[in-house]
Amino acid sequence: MLSEAVAESSSRRGFLARAGKFLLAVSGTGVVAAALRAQQAEAFHFCGHIYTTGSCPHPTGLPRIDRAGFPLRASDGQPVDDLGRPINSKGQPVDARGHVLLDPDGTPLPSAPRTPICEAAAKAHRFKAYHDGSWYRCCGGHIRRLMDCCGYVRNRINGDAALTGYCYHGRRVFCVMYYDSKIKC
């Protein structure tokens, strides 16, 4: 719980959340506060994301990444290539048991590209990718780092005007992604 408190206190949204709850509590509308809290938690498409910018394109859907920004399968953290196939540490496609996939002669099947998802989004939408700031939340019992994929863009992946979010030097948020740490909270 300490980590959650640290995480919340370290972000402006955490502050706003607490301030909002305080005002509601003062006005004696605790029930409404609870309802708002629940609504807020479920309002966006993954835990910790409390704004409207869409996910970065990811081979399997939810924009879960490793520390270096490469795609991981959200359900189990398995590294995947750009085709969405599970791969090993060498980038080779593997089966469900982790065996390297081999052709009938025993030669490994060719590895497919694996692109950091912010870079892939930047390439597809023609801008230079930047990783600026992050924010942290407690999700599923672990600290989750939520990251903005930033660039000098006018529009975000949703198609409408991009927001500043945690991007610096005039850059704006194109899409969002997250990294699930192993730190319990």
Binding site: H45, S55, P57, A74, G84, H99, L101, S111
Partner: protein, 448 residues
Amino acid sequence: MVGTVRAARHRATARAGFAVALAVGAVAIFGALGLIGELVDPGRWFLIGSAVVAGAAALADLAGLRVRPQLHLQVPEPWRRTMPLPRALFLYGLLLGTGLTTFVPAVAAWALLPLTVAVGLPGAIAIGLSFAAGRAAPVLLVRDEAALAERPHGLRAMRVLAAASLVLALAAGEAQAATKVALRGGDPSAAGTDLVWQQPGVGGVLLRDGGQTQLPGNDPALGGTRIAWHDGDEVTVADSGTLQPVLQLAIPGVEKLAVSDTWFVYRVGLANGKEQLRGFAFADPTRTTTISAALKRGALGRPSLSADTVLYHVAGPAGSALFLFDLATSRRLRLRSSAQSQVLNPDRVGSKLLYVRLSRCDQELRLGPLDGNGAGRVLYKLPPLAGQDAGHEPGHTRQGEHLPCGRPPKPTSRMLWTTALSGTTAYVTVLRPGSGGVMTPSLLAISR
């Protein structure tokens, strides 16, 4: 309707107009259903369900059961009196062609609707035209409408024909989609009507005039009048007609072969663990030409040879590309490349290029122009190798989610692999998962 056609002054024109209108009506309605199928992509289970419904309908027609549901509607009779007959017949044809606006003659007609959605385009157009032909035939061929109405056997025979054509259509559709050439076989090579492939654990197989011949070696290749195989490091090049050896030599580490009348090309495993493509002319087997750089094992594809040109793929973490190497000039040309998808295992006949394209949302066997102008067409398709999640976490909304594939993919562990192309047929190896990660091949033939 028979009477209306016969009453027309210019009977041939009236018949032609009626038949054309039937075709137009049928193509419009079945084409629309096919288009829905293309857009919605109802999936494998819908296709299976449609086939089951079609089978049940065929049985119902064979058994002569009552057609249910039935439409108790007729074409508007006043048109015959208020319009010129050719125009009325044309409009009647349009109505009858839709199959949904008048009396339904057979249960098979109902079964065609979901089947058309499942088949998509262009199969739906073919179904529509077949339906129009089936509807037009009795009107155009029967001389006495009353005789047909009074003889239930005639109507029964028509229903049996409808059922039989439905079953044939199902069988033909399946047969045209892909024919399994070898249950356990892969790495095909074709020349004319001859086909060779490798059967794991057994060796090379030659298919000629419907008969299979076991070859005395592995990884066979055909080209021009030559056939080649290897037994370990011992390579044999033979006359493809007689299978009599014309050249035998040892190539340490030889793995995959390609042959033409003038050239021999092979992939060789090097002592450092890498692989390379090399070749030589039969005119001077001692002079080896290096075709590709030495690459990490698995990155370099199987070569295919057409006259003086070698085709091969290079695939790895940086992307994949199809190359053409001209042995006569030593010039290399990149035919296709992709930084996200995988383009693999090319083969060519003339100006046509056959290759496999694995992308995030499907696997395709594509036949396109060698020069890359135009997308070409998809000869065969499999679902992608990976699925996708919901795009949002449980308990959260869909706002902001971004899914890789427009339609939820139904992933498969089968994978398109090596190819071969002849004048009439495309061949592709389909790999299935096996024990320890080793894939098991089967060989499909698809009509070009």
